[in-house]
Symmetry: C2
Subunit: 139 residues, 2 copies
DNA sequence: GCGAGAGTTGACGTTAACGTAAACGGCATA
DNA sequence: TATGCCGTTTACGTTAACGTCAACTCTCGC
């Protein structure tokens, strides 16, 4: 008996509103089953939602997320389509690696600032030996 | 003579419109000098713009970018402020590392799909020897 | 001295991604 | 049976991040 989820459960789990999840369905990113009127989400639906939200955190639009997810579930038969898919995977990876570089740069700078900050704090807390120059650090 | 830039130059360099750059100024993220009416951007302004756009690629809002940039330029004197800044740097780093994990997960999955895709393509192009069973990889 | 090209200030328009409110249905329980 | 608590649809509202005019102003090159 495969576990299923209600919209409220998923909303609580991922920290979004039910409206948000319904919105993704309106855009065709989710297709839960129905039990009467009520939506019933499968584990696969839950995974898709997780992917969408991960994409969102990384700044992808819902349209982009749709395309990414489309690559994930295999629905491609002939060689032509497979080659096209490989092409798009390559593009996507290039994009992701660029963002990876952005992120690393950001982290590096952040740690640099942190270092300077710690140094300044040490100066403030222990204004002992000092080089030539005034006391207040002008910039 | 420190190099300066016009709005058109920056727009061309970073692939955005002048309107976008002015918009960032409206929100207080940039404060170029003026030569009469015209904006004159310094190298520092250009760097700030680069940071904003990097943040944008990573899905940060302009408000978030403003805060991040605020951490970068040091304008904090006393120990209290420094500690507060260190705190915020820590939060920010936690956030960035979470996104880093997201990105790595995404890349890993993408490469997994790529592997399956190449395998399928090989099957299609050379449907020679085959193992027992269907051949389609179930998940 | 004038036209082209780049820049400027309003000010309204647009799109994505939801928020929010109204009006309703089903079911558990006090 | 009434009172919540979930869930549903429909539909308009909101916010962020610009796009898109219109109407000017400089400044250069001829």
């Amino acid at each position: 008996m495969h576990r299923t989820f209600t919209i409220g459960e998923l909303a609580a789990e991922f920290g979004v509103t039910a409206r948000t999840i319904r919105h993704y369905e309106e855009l065709g990113l989710l297709r839960p089953q129905r039990r009467g009127q009520a939506r019933i989400y499968s584990a696969a639906d839950r995974t898709r939602l997780k992917l969408i939200l991960r994409g969102r955190r990384l700044g992808f639009s819902l349209g982009e997320s749709r395309e990414i997810i489309a690559m994930y579930d295999p629905e491609h038969g002939n060689a032509q389509q497979l080659r096209r898919l490989l092409e798009r995977i390559g593009e996507q990876r290039t994009l992701l690696e660029a963002r990876l570089a952005d992120l690393h740069a950001m982290l590096a700078e952040l740690e640099e600032v942190e270092g300077g900050c710690r140094a300044a704090l040490a100066q403030v807390r222990a204004p002992t030996a000092r080089r030539a120059g005034g006391g207040s650090s002008s910039n």
